[in-house]
Subunit: 160 residues, 2 copies
């Protein structure tokens, strides 16, 4: 399971978006009918996506790291303490797909993306992202610079 490639998909006037076949194929075989969309925790205008399984696994690791082994009872009771898994959950929605792979995008995500008639789907290994196409172009250009610098650094400190 590894999401790859960037694909531009239409957002039709009914608010529907197609999850490309390349991404559908990465969903668990026993749960192909639905997945999860959630707001990025620290970048506005970006929506993340994952299988239900992948999202739930992330929440679990998150709680383990944030609270330790005895955290589960505390989290169930303590409504005052900050719970990062609960925060992500509140910004997440389970999305059911039609048999042909399309889903209707909730208005909150359309607004967050400021998407007019298209959405850029970007594979990020264990999750994927939805971007406003124009914003993604800018981001990708910036990342190309960083990647080049990263590779330069590698060769400097490489397995000398």
């Amino acid at each position: 399971m590894a999401f790859r490639s960037e694909i531009l998909i239409k957002l039709d006037k009914k608010g529907r978006v197609l999850l490309p076949a390349a991404f559908r194929d990465e969903l668990p075989a026993d749960d192909r009918g639905a997945f999860v969309l959630y707001h990025s925790p620290n970048v506005s205008g970006v929506v993340n996506g994952n299988s239900r399984m992948g999202f739930d696994a992330m929440l679990e690791r998150l709680r383990a790291e944030a609270l330790g082994p005895k955290g589960s009872l505390k989290v169930a009771l303590d409504d005052e303490a900050f719970d990062p898994a609960g925060y992500l959950s509140a910004g997440a929605r389970t999305i059911a797909m039609e048999p042909d792979g399309r889903f209707s995008m909730p208005a909150e995500f359309v607004e967050a993306l400021d998407a007019a008639d298209g959405v850029m789907l970007v594979g990020k290994v264990e999750k994927f992202q939805l971007w406003n196409p124009a914003r993604w172009q800018a981001r990708r250009a910036a990342e190309r610079e960083k990647m080049a610098a990263f590779v330069r650094n590698l060769s400097a400190g490489g397995d000398a």
Copy 2:
């Protein structure tokens, strides 16, 4: 079973509230007609909700972890000792829904929330919360800061 998303629901002049379909779908298949509401143990103005199954499971863990293996007998007999599960139960009510998913919200919870004409339902993974919409906005803004800080910390202390 994992409650997600935040949904604003009307509180009509008859005191009725709709449990959204997204939340109804997370209730156990064999117990879709009712659920539990209970006051937050440590944040006033917040009401928690869960399936009967989920609430009971929490009480059980609470007694097991807070009182040890002999806890249940002690709790049954000792009316002097403090019993957190008993405390939560006293502040809880089983709520029956109409077939269309609506229920009439008990006055005690309406007062606790200070809800006028709307209630914010927030998914918190294994339970959900009811908030006064305005108070939830404030809380969410505060949590966004904490989440960003949490993510920053992760990258700093990465799994070295």
